[in-house]
């Protein structure tokens, strides 16, 4: 039923074209609404059951290090200063000064005006700088302002751009507008990787999460990301699972891999491990890599470090032994 009524991607010479789908708002709507629905109760039950996996010893050690490597260490406050950002960047490179075997995080995530400071500190450490752009967090600005915001961040050295979609347009059914905005931002990104933030807490239904995931993937986002961290609920395990199903299905359909980033609300190592289990079992082990999965977080890192120390020393640690930045 869905496959005949809605337009579908066509593959020509190995690259997938979504031209038929995005020919009009109506065709895009037909495609997105033709995607299989999500039953909330079933989806949440599945996520909860993944959350009961018991990850111990060697598996836990692997998961903790992987989670650290996946952290986009984030500060997105009005009160951010160069000093705060420098401190955060230092922590990103050496999360546990007491243990040199501790890996560094994936990126530092800041507002565009702080990109320069972050870049300066991080240098060639390999830790990326991610900048939120496009009138973060509300996305309520004219397109040219959003694009300028993006270009500024890229010019300042951002390796990754975390854009927000226009949720109003999405909820109003103006899918093509949302699509075209992502395409435009992607172009403005140049070589920088684009993460597309949905603010799933505002989209509310899992059906919307699945639709917006496909929309963003077709528009060229490198990553799809749950939340700004400014709206509750931010990332949840079921929402992330739905997005992992979407990237899995997208690869099946197009051969192309897209990353996933839950952001906001993941504060404990235990939670992070549940997400990794979900990545492993839903999208598959190919996604168990900072190139394909990230945690947008600030306080999570210290808990990961505490648990890591517990694994290596056999003692429970305390917050005084980890830096507060």
């Amino acid at each position: 039923m869905t496959s005949t009524a809605a337009p579908s991607p066509t593959t020509i010479a190995g690259s997938t074209s979504f031209d038929d789908i995005t020919a009009s708002n109506a065709s895009l709507r037909r495609f997105l609404h033709g995607l299989p629905g999500v039953d909330q109760v079933g989806a949440e039950a599945r996520a909860a059951s993944l959350g009961t996996r018991s990850i111990k010893t060697t598996a836990k050690a692997y998961a903790l290090d992987l989670a650290i490597r996946m952290v986009d260490l984030t500060t997105l406050e009005g009160q951010d200063t160069p000093g705060k950002v420098r401190a955060l960047a230092s922590k990103a490179m050496r999360p546990d000064p007491a243990d040199l075997s501790c890996p560094q995080v994936a990126a530092v995530c800041v507002y565009p005006d702080m990109v320069g400071v972050a870049k300066e500190t991080l240098g060639s450490s390999g830790v990326n700088v991610a900048a939120v752009a496009t009138a973060f967090p509300s996305g309520r600005a004219a397109l040219d302002i959003k694009l300028a915001d993006t270009r500024d961040a890229v010019e300042a050295g951002a390796d990754e751009i975390d854009m927000v979609i226009d949720r109003g347009a999405f909820l109003a059914g103006n899918y093509l507008q949302v699509f075209e905005e992502i395409v435009a931002v992607r172009e403005a990104c140049g070589d920088a990787h684009l993460k597309v933030i949905f603010e799933t807490g505002e989209l509310q239904t899992y059906d919307n999460v699945r639709r917006v995931s496909w929309l963003a993937m077709m528009a060229g986002g490198h990553f799809i990301k749950t939340s700004t961290g400014k709206v509750q609920p931010a990332a949840t395990l079921p929402v992330t699972m739905i997005m992992l199903e979407a990237v899995r299905d997208f690869r099946e359909a197009t051969g192309q891999m897209i990353g996933v980033k839950p952001a906001g609300g993941i504060r404990t190592a235990k939670d992070a491990i549940k997400y990794l289990v979900t990545v492993n079992e839903v999208a598959g082990p190919d996604w168990l890599d900072p190139d394909w999965f990230r945690f947008g977080a600030s306080t999570l890192l210290n808990d990961l470090l505490m648990q890591r120390t517990k694994m290596t020393t056999g003692r429970y640690s305390g917050p005084d032994y980890f830096t507060l930045d």
Partner: protein, 483 residues
């Protein structure tokens, strides 16, 4: 594609063993029968119960003889006449509440023992079986002093003879004992010969609850013991859960008597997936429908009926999902599929699967390493199955799914109902009116729409046609214990 499906992607994230400790359970070398509030030696032989995951002998258990059964029925009769039938409903309720609480308190112990004796994964015994058992006692406890509002009369029957299967040893015990006691009956219960241990632990719980002696009696044994119990002339009520063949034999045995009978028998449920289904949840429902409890479930969704237009997509996703199922040590917290309960059952699953193959159906299992000791069978599906195949008609009672396709809702209904069974069915579609139409058409006692294998003490469970008669659970569950 074929290669991709059959080679397991090796994950760098290998879950380390996460075994639940068995230190909490204390398995005695031998067990007697529980009669009149005491553990007593049987007069018959003893039999061994083994851990199906390792084939290790767990304990010797008394096989109740006809005389032992008679003693148990006499004890139940005495307790009925002198104590239980005279006690107020409110007081009976308090005993049942007490039992429910003790089950919660000793939940871990019960779950571990259940997994050891039965082979089911600890995550199921811990998260499904034991909590549902406690909930069942809580639910029926509340009925004991409210029978006049249930609509079935308030008079208890007397002594109930109850025979339960090995797939949910404790849960089936709860389904039998809780309503019987709430309604004012006393019971003699025979657990299955391969899974007697949690019933015997339950007997200890009855002692701990100071339940009056004789209200609950447990006689262990096999078919002969069950036959003696069912045939005992002082038994007023027979409740049985198990195979349709044995159910038939029981129905014949009680013919011409005054015994009230309820039977929960076999099934061959259709799990019907339409093209507009929430596919990912449907895949979970299919997996839960057939691989929950190793497929040792009478209401298992053992026939997948998938609409032809989405068959390929659903099967692709199903196979991928089956590749993530973890088969192994039942006590490992990450195990999804445990051990087959017995060598006999394993032989039956193998036999029917081999028949499926020889009848031309396509057999597929994900690559998985099975332990060398114990009874194991990988999650398996058969494609290209038609209604004429034996694997589409006979209850396999194992982790084996037969996949059939259909084109229209009418065809789905026709195929779903084309079986002598009628226990359960599943429907997956996003269209509300279609769900209700399908639910009306399906001749089955439980219809799960956009979900599967859900159980609740308040929800009546039981079959149409050869899946048996009577209902267990809910207000309806009282009917079989009252006159």
């Amino acid at each position: 594609m074929a290669d991709k499906e059959t080679t397991r992607t090796v994950s760098p994230f290998e879950y380390a063993p996460a075994p639940e400790s068995r230190a909490i359970v204390d398995i005695k070398p031998s067990y007697g029968l529980f009669v009149n509030g005491e553990f007593v030696d049987g007069t018959g032989k003893a039999f061994k119960t083994v851990n199906p995951a390792t084939e290790e002998v767990l304990a010797e258990v008394a096989e109740a003889s006809e005389a032992d059964v008679d003693a148990a029925v006499k004890a139940a009769r005495r307790a009925y006449t002198r104590v239980w039938s005279k006690m107020s409903g409110a007081e009976r309720a308090k005993y049942l509440y007490r039992i429910a609480r003790i089950i919660q308190e000793r939940g871990r112990e019960l779950a571990v023992l259940e997994s050891i004796d039965n082979g089911k994964p600890i995550k199921e015994s811990r998260d499904v079986d034991v909590p549902t058992v406690a909930a069942h006692f809580f639910y029926y406890a509340g009925w004991a002093d409210k029978l006049e509002y249930a609509g079935y009369g308030t008079q208890s029957l007397g002594v109930a003879g109850q025979v339960i299967p090995w797939n949910f040893p404790l849960l089936m015990l709860a389904w039998k004992i809780a309503p019987a006691l709430a309604a004012g009956n006393t019971v003699v219960l025979k657990p299955a010969e391969t899974t007697p241990l949690t019933a015997l632990l339950f007997a200890e719980i009855c002692q701990q609850a100071d339940l009056p002696p004789g209200v609950v009696n447990i006689v262990t044994g096999a078919g002969e013991t069950g036959r003696a119990l069912v045939a005992h002339e002082d038994v007023d009520k027979v409740a049985f859960t198990g195979s349709t063949d044995v159910g038939r034999a029981i129905a014949k045995a009680v013919a011409g008597t005054d015994k009230k009978v309820t039977l929960e028998l076999g099934g061959k449920a259709a799990n019907i997936v339409f093209d507009d289904a929430p596919i990912d949840q449907a895949v979970e429902g299919i997996v839960n429908g057939i691989f929950f409890n190793q497929g040792h479930v009478c209401c298992a969704g053992s026939r997948l009926l998938v609409q032809e237009s989405v068959a390929e997509e659903v099967l692709g996703k199903l196979k991928r999902r089956m590749g993530t199922l973890r088969v192994g040590d039942p006590l490992d917290k990450n195990t999804d599929i445990g051990a087959i309960n017995s060598a006999e059952q394993l032989a039956r699953i193998r036999e029917l699967s081999d028949i499926g193959e020889s009848e031309g159906a396509g057999r597929w299992s994900p690559p998985c390493d099975l332990p060398s000791n114990g009874y194991w069978f990988p999650p398996t599906l058969f494609t290209g199955v038609s209604q004429a195949h034996r694997i589409a008609r006979e209850e396999i009672f194992g982790p084996v799914l037969s996949v059939l396709t259909f084109r229209t809702p009418h065809e789905a209904v026709e195929k779903a109902n084309n079986t002598p069974y009628g226990l359960s069915a599943g429907i997956w579609t996003d269209k509300g009116s279609r769900i209700l139409w399908m639910a009306n058409q399906l001749r089955a006692g439980v219809v799960w729409a956009n979900t599967f294998n859900k159980f609740d003490p308040t929800s009546p469970f039981g079959g149409y046609k050869e899946s048996g008669y009577g209902r267990e659970g809910g207000r309806h569950g009282l009917e079989g214990y009252l006159k």
